[in-house]
């Protein structure tokens, strides 16, 4: 199994962004990572560490300066961008729902790709909604009138209606209260296990990381400082940076669920 190409592989990727002065600044330094189907990877680190840039490179919202990103062993540049993004959707930090009902939002990816609109009574879609804890009663409600937590769930389901293989999540719990965030962590685990998805999320939230990630990458100043299995990295960090970062969170946040 280890000989097969990982689902998503990032090799020595660097990227620059225009800084406040307008001049290009290196924001990501020769970053390498891999994630397999069914696996959850948390990218943790302080603000400005290059986490969000990394996420946006993976579905080509941004272009890497050097290095390769491979999906099932194939360079992501060999896919037409819309096709790539349907396979690697990104759910942004602030849930964005199109004007209209929840049903219309769930049909939006197909509409955007000029594909046949999915039927919400289709068993596979029903299963997806159940996994994402999207109540079928919401289908005909105005999507923008749902609570933030509910909107986040609709966004999650909407991202996976298509041929999703790798799910990218930018700060998925930043707008949620703790019980909702905990429930979300459970949802991510179920999605990864049952749909054989790879999930990569970027977060400050150590509690979320502890509750659902298999692997953690800790980033600072655009570079990977430390990586490892979640429980090892959170409980026995090897670098001073990670220790300092963990110390700034509460004890409770670090406890690793079984």
């Amino acid at each position: 199994m280890n000989n097969a190409a990982p689902l998503l592989q990032v090799r020595q990727v660097s990227a620059s962004r225009p800084g406040e002065s307008g001049a290009l600044q290196r924001v990501l330094q020769e970053t390498t990572l891999r994630v397999d189907a069914g696996e959850i990877l948390a990218v943790v680190g302080p603000s400005g560490s290059g986490k969000s840039t990394l996420l946006r490179l993976l579905n080509r919202l941004l272009e890497a300066e050097s290095g390769d990103i491979l999906l099932s062993g194939e360079n992501i540049r060999s896919f037409p961008p819309p096709e790539l993004r349907a396979s690697i959707p990104l759910v942004s930090q602030k849930p964005f729902l199109f004007p209209g009902t929840v049903r219309e939002n769930l049909q939006a990816p197909a509409r955007l790709r000029r594909a046949e609109l999915p039927d919400c009574s289709d068993p596979s879609l029903q299963e997806l909604l159940e996994l994402c804890h999207v109540d079928p009663d919401w289908l005909d409600r105005d999507a923008r009138k749902l609570s933030v937590g509910q909107q986040q769930r609709v966004c999650l389901a909407r991202a996976m209606v298509g041929p999703c293989q790798v799910l990218l999540l930018d700060e998925p719990t930043s707008a949620l209260d703790r019980p909702t965030a905990d429930q979300m962590a459970l949802t991510f685990r179920q999605l990864a296990r049952e749909k054989k998805l790879a999930i990569i999320f970027v977060t400050h939230d150590l509690r979320l990381t502890a509750r659902c990630a298999d692997h953690v990458i800790f980033m600072a100043n655009g570079a990977v400082v430390e990586e490892g299995p979640t429980s090892r990295l959170l409980n026995h960090p090897e670098t001073a940076e990670v220790r300092a970062f963990l110390a700034s969170g509460s004890e409770d946040d670090r406890e690793v669920s079984p």
Binding site: N59, R60, P82, F98, P109, R111, L112
Partner: protein, 260 residues
């Protein structure tokens, strides 16, 4: 027909210019601070129109198409320049996009009208071609500015929506649809309003001019109807080109939103 035209003497012009002096006096009285503006724009109008009058006098005598076409190109150049000055937020590649759109949109419509509808002999007869092209380009310019401005606003306000669409696998065409249609609508509103109010709220300038110079009102009306249809056609075609070329400029070659 020429007998019915009353020429204005130099003295008549001096009389109407005294009205400008009155406006300047009133502006001064109300401390509106516009006296200088009124004076200079009045002077500019005098000089510019005098020059245009002489230029047209020369142009109408032209017997070859090349200088006429050259003048049309210069007019288009000025139109693009004016839109550039009027629009605050320009799209990437603004001049290329707007120049191409006006050249083909207005140019196409002008030749359609002059050659196929009126059937000018010769086809470049400057007496018709230049003023008609002026009206078509002038009106399309307004539509084009509105479209460019609105498209920029849509891309600014809908950034989240457009990026969400991209992230769900939408093509740049699919995710720009709402922005493009709303910009098209904005550009066409003046034409729609003008057609609906025509004859009721105001008598259009061209028709009034023709009537004053002795044309039968019914002929003037037919010309006015024709030119309004051509103007609307030109506004829609120019706007269509601007939007179809312009929305792409907001995206990178790898189909993500540009950062600037």
């Amino acid at each position: 027909m020429t007998a019915s035209i009353i020429d204005l003497s130099l003295w008549d012009l001096v009389t109407v210019y005294s009205l400008l002096l009155m406006s300047i006096g009133l502006a001064h009285l109300l401390k509106a601070g516009q006296s200088k503006d009124l004076f200079w724009s009045g002077l500019r109008m005098f000089i510019q129109l005098l020059v245009v009058g002489y230029v047209l006098h020369l142009i109408f005598a032209l017997k070859t198409p090349l200088p006429v076409l050259l003048i049309l190109i210069v007019m288009i150049g000025f139109a693009v320049q004016t839109i550039g000055a009027r629009v605050k937020t320009k799209m990437p590649h603004f001049y290329r996009v707007v120049g191409t759109a006006i050249l083909f949109g207005c140019g196409g419509m002008t030749f359609f009208f002059c050659s196929l509808v009126i059937g000018l002999e010769p086809w470049y007869d400057p007496r018709y071609l230049i003023p008609l092209a002026g009206m078509i380009i002038g009106n399309s310019m307004t539509g084009a500015s509105l479209a460019v401005e609105r498209l920029a606003a849509e891309f600014r306000e809908r950034r989240d929506e457009i990026e969400t669409g991209l992230c769900l696998g939408g093509s740049i065409q699919a995710v720009s649809e709402t922005a493009v249609s709303s910009a098209f609508r904005a550009a066409l509103i003046p034409s729609v309003n003008a057609m609906a109010a025509m004859g009721l709220v105001f008598l259009p300038g061209m028709m009034t001019g023709q009537i004053l110079s002795g044309t039968e009102p019914l002929i003037a009306v037919k010309y006015q109807i024709a030119i309004m249809c051509v103007i609307t056609g030109s506004v829609s075609l120019t706007t269509f080109f601007i939007l179809k070329l312009g929305y792409r400029a907001y995206f990178t070659p790898y189909q993500s939103l540009r950062e600037d």
